[in-house]
């Protein structure tokens, strides 16, 4: 297959017809470059979009009480609904198997201090499953566990940023005591959270400890749960809606009251984001395909023109003894070489532009714009194939033309 002489002929033909070579290559380079950039931008938009939601578990449902806005069953509107431990028990009893994590959550802003350093943080009293809802993971020590809850111990897991704020550099917070609202809590672990700095300025304490210390009651501000990930999105949405209805009934809230019981269901959001990112995908695909088609049309035109322009030369070659097959291979190899080389060049420029522009694009909601190399290779191969097809048809026609006809073509 590899024939040095043939390639020498092809390179000479390309080298001596630089303008023609550059023009045909430019079409491909430009098409692949645009394709890369558009696809990269589209992916960047999608990345931004999904990063809004990745800080917490995708299968979380948040339920919290609020004031009613409608009078119902003899209760006046404006009544404050409150959750208690028994509301959590109600979930455990009524929806077995439908959730994989369940927590109570009482959140307060409190002053936390260590030695002379102090600051206000969100101190959240929770059950241990919170780490799965927040996707928090310990970087040192451990998270609060069931034993802490049972013993109602004064232990605290602090976020990475809390440690950084309060503790001198190089000193681990684990095992130290911090002052939380006037009481000493033992730091049992430091965690990181994909929610970023904001959520790494949280600190978690056992809910039982909190209920005992702050008011000695069994109030619950918010219930978080993780629905069973085996559920489909639709089932999860239905599950959330059923809980909303059941809780309204339980707390005598009018079924039409929008505020008395609030439910935030990730599944509902996923439905929405699925639609938006599907639409984004469609837009990106349509634009990319359009660009590729423009490239294909461009290279086809140029190949037709090239063969037309070379008709006479091909006639001379035939008169001198060139077989039709050698005419066809000569033109096809040239087309193939130009398209693959130019395609690769376009890819380099495109990724270069993305790389260069990436930091400048974040304010336009484009994050990490990048393109799957498989797609680019696919696009280049597509353009190569179209270059070959576009070159083959006129090349075959040229190879079939009788040399006298070609030679007459002045």
């Amino acid at each position: 297959m590899f024939d040095l002489d043939r390639w020498r002929e092809i390179f000479q033909s390309m080298g001596k017809n630089k303008l023609r070579t550059i023009l045909s290559g430019f079409t491909i380079t430009f098409a692949i470059m645009l394709f890369t950039i558009l696809l990269g931008m589209g992916n960047g938009l999608k990345n931004t979009f999904s990063s809004f939601f990745e800080r917490d578990a995708e299968n979380a449902i948040f339920i919290w009480p609020n004031r009613t806005t409608k009078a119902y069953k003899g209760f006046q509107s404006g009544r404050r609904i409150e959750f208690k431990n028994e509301d959590v028990d109600f979930i455990k009893e009524n929806y077995p198997g439908q959730f994989t994590g369940l927590i109570r959550r009482n959140q307060r802003s409190m002053e936390v201090s260590y030695k002379n350093e102090k600051s206000n943080y969100q101190v959240i009293a929770v059950d241990p499953d919170i780490q799965f809802i927040e996707k928090a993971s310990p970087v040192a020590g451990r998270f609060i566990n069931q034993l802490d809850l049972n013993k109602k111990s004064k232990t605290i897991a602090i976020g990475r940023m809390v440690e950084k704020d309060l503790f001198p550099k190089g000193i681990s917070a684990v095992g130290k005591y911090v002052n939380v609202g006037g009481l000493a809590f033992k730091v049992i672990g430091v965690f990181s959270d994909p929610g970023g700095d904001n959520e790494e300025r949280f600190a978690y304490i056992p809910i039982t400890t909190s209920q005992m210390i702050y008011g000695n009651n069994d109030k619950v501000d918010q219930i978080n749960l993780l629905y069973n990930p085996d559920m489909s999105i639709e089932e999860a949405v239905a599950f959330g809606n059923k809980m909303r209805r059941d809780f309204k009934k339980r707390h005598n809230v009018a079924p039409t009251d929008q505020r008395g019981i609030r439910v935030l269901n990730r599944a509902e959001m996923a439905q929405g984001t699925g639609q938006v990112s599907g639409a984004l995908d469609m837009i990106v695909i349509i634009i990319s395909i359009g660009t590729l088609i423009a490239g294909i049309v461009g290279i086809s035109n140029i190949m037709v023109y090239i063969v037309k322009e070379r008709t006479k030369e091909l006639g001379i070659r035939k008169a001198l003894g060139a077989k039709p097959s050698s005419i066809i291979t000569m033109i096809l190899f040239e087309a193939l070489f130009i398209t693959s080389f130019a395609g690769y060049f376009g890819l380099l420029i495109g990724t270069g532009v993305l790389e260069f522009a990436a930091p400048r694009l974040e304010k336009y909601f484009i994050k990490d714009p990048s393109v799957d190399s498989g797609i680019i290779i696919f696009a280049t191969i597509l353009l190569m194939i179209s270059g070959i097809i576009a070159g083959y048809l006129p090349a075959r026609r040229a190879a079939k033309i009788k040399p006298i006809v070609a030679l007459r073509d002045d």
Binding site: L4, D5, R8, E9, Q12, S13, K16, N17, K312, E313, G315, I316, R317, K318, A319, L320, G321, A322, K323, P324, S325, S326, A399, K400, K402, P403, I404, L407, D410
Partner: protein, 230 residues
């Protein structure tokens, strides 16, 4: 070398067809220097194209080098052209982006000769036509006469059986015409069969045999005066 019997050729022209060659008989032996004379439309170019395997005939027999030419596909024709025939055209038909040397070497490329051998042989032939010094010049740097001599070197480089020249001096002035004709005569003297198509008396007179065509038939076939032969 070339043996033609009852050759007919017509071209479709819309609904009708144009009958160009109307039963030619011609026999050219090895080493002859023949010119075909005729005004335009006499069929002389058609005859050359058929003899040169650039076109196919309708009826009749054509033997080239003892081989009956029939059912010729493009590939076979290409091989035969490369092996047996050398072409010289009125408009030279050199490839513009190749140097004189590369143009001469091109038929050897299609004959499958390796590059080193090709360039060496091509240079020998350029030397033979007196253009060794111009080997690395592009066609547009050469005069008309020089271009035609390059074309002749190219026609000879594969050591063909027949050199076919289609109005080889049509684009040249009288001085260069003479030098090109001298070159063709010289080739002929070395034993090469040369077949020239022309409408110029002066050119035809320098060949050894003149075949006159008119309206697709041969009207005369004569050996020219011995003075030229000598």
């Amino acid at each position: 070398m070339i043996k033609i019997k009852g050759l007919h050729k017509s071209y479709p022209m819309g609904k009708d067809s144009l009958h160009v060659l109307k039963g030619l008989d011609l026999h050219i032996k090895e080493g002859e220097f023949v010119s075909i004379m005729g005004s335009s439309g006499s069929g002389k170019s058609t005859l050359l194209n058929i003899v040169g395997l650039l076109d196919i005939h309708d009826v009749g027999e054509y033997h080239l080098n003892g081989q009956l030419i029939e059912k010729l596909d493009e590939k076979k024709a290409a091989i035969l052209r490369n092996k047996f025939l050398g072409f010289v055209f009125q408009s030279f038909n050199l490839i513009s982006y190749k140097t004189a040397l590369e143009n001469v070497a091109l038929p050897l490329y299609y004959a499958g000769v390796n590059r080193k051998e090709r360039l060496k042989t091509a240079l020998d032939y350029l030397d033979k036509v007196g253009l060794k010094e111009w080997a690395n010049h592009l066609p547009n740097e050469l005069s008309g006469g020089q271009k035609q001599r390059v074309a002749i070197a190219r026609a000879l480089v594969t050591k063909p059986k027949v050199v076919l020249a289609d109005e080889p001096t049509g684009a040249l002035d009288s001085t260069t015409t003479d030098s090109v004709m001298d070159l063709l005569k010289e080739i002929n003297d070395e034993g090469m069969t040369v077949f020239v198509i022309t409408h110029e008396e002066e050119v035809a007179e320098q060949t050894k045999r003149i075949v006159r065509l008119k309206d697709g038939v041969i009207i005369s076939d004569e050996v020219t005066n011995p003075k030229v032969l000598a």
